[in-house]
Amino acid sequence: MSLLRHRLFWPLAVLAALLAVNTAFTPGFLAIRVQDGHLYGSLIDIVRFGAPLILVALGMTLVIATGGIDLSVGSVVAIAGALACEYIVDLPDQDDLAGVLTAIGIALAAAVVLGAWNGLLVAGFGVQPIVATLVLMVAGRGVAQLITAGQNTSVTSPTFKVFGGGYWLTLPFPVLVAAAAFLLTALLTRRTALGLLLESVGGNPAAGRLVGIRARGLVATVYIAAALCAAIAGLMISSNVSTADGNNAGLWIELDAILAVVIGGTALTGGRFHLTGTVLGALIIQTLSTTIYTVGVPPETTLVFKAVVVLAVCLIQSPRLRAKFRRRRPPAAAPAAAEKVEVTA
C-alpha cells in the first residue's frame, strides 16, 4: 500500500505501461546497442528528443510553484535558436569553438533579458502571469522571424551540433545537459531554503509576506530561470537539426511543458512542486509521441489518441481515485469508481 501511495508511483506506472505497449508491438524496443562509439536505441532516442521538453518543464515547474505560468517559453526557444544560428552563420569559420560559445552566450543573455521582461510585468507591475507572458508568446515568434528574416537558417558547424545532437562518454550531450540542469535545480531548491520560499510565495502569499519573504525578487527570478531553461532547449533543438526555424521551433512546447508539470503532480494553483515528477511527466509525453510513431497510429487520430492517454493519466492521479485505492474514505469511492469505468471503457 505504501508503494501505491507514493506520488511518483502512477507516473512511473504509466511510463512502464507505455514502454510495455511499445515492446509488445516492436520486439527489441528496449534494446540498446553501441553504434559508432555511442549508445543507440529507442530508449536513448526518447530521453534525447525529450531533453528540451524536460528543460522547459523544469523552468515551468518553478514558475508554477509561485502560482504563475509562463506561456512565452516556446517563443524563447525559437528566439534562442535563431540568435545562435544567425551568429554562427556569419562567422568566418562556423566551426570555431570560441565563436560557437559566443553564440550560445548571446542566446542565453537574450533569454535573461526576455525572462526579466516577463518578471518585470508580473512582479513589478502586477500583470496577471497568463496575460503578461502571452505578450511575449505572440510577439516572440515574430521577433524570431525578424532575426532569421523569415528564412530557415542552416548552419554547418560540427561544434555547435554537439550541443543538441552530439555524444559525450557514449551518452547524448543534451541528456547530460538536462540532467545537470535537473541536479542544479534540485540542489538549489531542496538543499537551500529557496524551494521553501518559492512554495510559500505560491501557496500562501499573504503568510509569506507577513513572515518577511520578499516575493517580488523571487518571482522575477523564476521567470528568468524559465527563460534560461527554454533558451537552452532552443539551442538543443536548433543544434540537433543544424537549423533555426523561427516558425516551428518550440511551437506549443509551453503546453506540453505545463502538461508535464501537471502529470508530475504539481498543482497549477502553486505551492508544492515536484521536480522528479515533472521529469517523469516530460518522459511520458515524449514516450507517447514515440509510441504513436512506432505503433503506427494514423496521423488523423494522433491527437485523439494523445488526449485519451493524457485523460487516463490525469484521472488515475485524481485524489478521489487515489482515495479509493487508499480505502480511507469509502463514501468518496463511489463516484471515483464510476470515473474509472469511463477510463477503462
Partner: protein
C-alpha cells in the same frame, strides 16, 4: 501586440495611399499607360514563400508592370482589406494567394462588380461560383505525388522483391499533404510489391522529420525507400538515417518534394535520389497572364506552373540555378 500595431500602421498607410490615388484623379490608376497589378501575398512564412515574392516582384519590373504589393502576415482579414484597397485604387488586375480556401465570395464579388479581373496564384479558393476569378495559376500537388511515384516505379521496374516504403507526411489536413499522399498512392497501389509500412505526419519541419524517422528506423528493420512530402522533412530524416549507421540515398532511397537549395546540395552529396519540384518562381508566368488579361485576350481557367523532376545526376548542373 507589436504585430497588431504594425498591422494597424500598415493598414493606415494603405488607406492613405488609396486616398492619394483618388487625389490623382487618374481614376483607373494607370495614368502613364502601364498595367497595374495588385498582389496580396500570404506573408513570409517560409523560404519557399520568400522566393515566390521575389520572383513576382522581379518579373513585374522586368515586364514593365506596375506592382502594388501587400503582405497579409498570414491573416485573411488583412488580405481582404488589401483586395478592397486595390479595388478602390482601380488597379487593372488583382492577384493573390488565398491564405485559406473559404470566405472569399463577398470581396471577390466586389472586385467582379468593379470589373477588375482576379487571378489566383499557388492556392485555390473553395467557391461554388467560379466566375469570381479569371484563372488559377499554381502547382498540382496530386501530380507531384504521381511524379514521385513514377520515379519509384521506374527505379524498381526490374525487381520483383517487395519494396518497403516509409512516408513522412506534411501537416495533417493541409492540401499539399493530402494531395501528395493521394497522388503517390494512386500509382504505387497498382503494384503489390510496393508496401507502405509506416506513414506519419512530421509537420513539414526538419526537427519533426528527424524525430519521426528515428522512430521509423528503430521500429522497422527493413526500409528501402523514404518518401517525404517536402525537403525539410527529408533533410531531417537524412540526419536520423546517418546516425543509425545507414547511408541515405543508398541503403534507403529518398524521394522528396519542393526543390529548395539545401535539397540540391544533399543530392550532389548523393543523399537524396530524386526531388520533385514545386516551383515558387511563378512570377514570369503570372506576368504573361496579366498582360494577356490586360490586352483582353482569353486565358485558361487552370494554368499549371512549369515544374520538373530532378535526379541525382542532374543535381550538380541545376544547383547554381536554385534561387531559394
Amino acid at each position: 501586440m507589436l504585430k497588431k500595431l504594425l498591422t494597424t500602421l500598415a493598414t493606415a498607410s494603405l488607406a492613405l495611399s488609396a486616398l492619394a490615388a483618388c487625389g490623382d484623379g487618374g481614376g483607373d490608376g494607370s495614368g502613364d499607360g502601364k498595367t497595374v497589378l495588385g498582389f496580396a501575398q500570404v506573408g513570409a512564412e517560409s523560404a519557399w514563400r520568400t522566393a515566390n515574392t521575389t520572383s513576382i516582384q522581379e518579373s513585374a519590373a522586368a515586364a514593365g508592370i506596375e506592382l502594388k504589393f501587400s503582405d497579409a502576415q498570414q491573416k485573411q482579414e488583412n488580405q481582404i482589406k488589401a483586395i478592397r484597397s486595390f479595388i478602390q485604387q482601380r488597379v487593372d488586375v488583382i492577384a493573390f494567394s488565398p491564405i485559406v480556401e473559404t470566405g472569399w465570395d463577398t470581396v471577390l464579388k466586389e472586385a467582379k462588380d468593379a470589373k477588375i479581373p482576379v487571378v489566383l496564384t499557388d492556392r485555390a479558393v473553395d467557391s461554388a461560383d467560379d466566375s469570381l476569378y479569371v484563372t488559377f495559376l499554381g502547382s498540382d500537388f496530386v501530380e507531384e505525388g504521381r511524379r514521385a511515384a513514377n520515379w519509384l516505379v521506374e527505379e524498381y521496374k526490374d525487381s520483383d522483391e517487395t519494396v518497403n516504403i516509409v512516408e513522412l507526411q506534411g501537416t495533417t489536413g493541409s492540401a499539399p499533404a493530402i494531395d501528395r499522399k493521394t497522388g503517390f498512392e494512386e500509382i504505387t497501389s497498382a503494384d503489390p510489391k510496393f508496401q507502405t509500412i509506416a506513414s506519419q505526419a512530421a509537420d513539414f519541419t526538419r526537427a519533426k522529420g528527424k524525430e519521426v524517422m528515428q522512430a521509423f528506423l528503430s521500429a522497422n528493420k527493413d526500409i528501402d525507400v523514404l518518401y517525404a512530402h517536402n525537403d525539410d522533412m527529408a533533410l531531417g530524416a537524412i540526419q536520423a538515417i546517418e546516425e543509425a549507421g545507414l547511408k541515405p540515398g543508398e541503403d534507403i532511397k529518398i524521394i522528396s518534394v519542393d526543390g529548395v537549395k539545401d535539397a540540391f546540395v544533399a543530392m550532389t552529396e548523393g543523399k537524396i535520389n530524386v526531388v520533385v519540384e514545386c516551383n515558387p518562381l511563378l512570377g514570369p508566368q503570372l506576368m504573361d497572364v496579366v498582360a494577356k488579361i490586360a490586352a483582353g485576350q482569353p486565358t485558361e481557367k487552370r494554368i499549371l506552373t512549369e515544374e520538373g523532376v530532378f535526379t541525382m545526376d542532374q543535381a550538380a548542373a541545376e544547383l547554381p540555378n536554385r534561387k531559394y
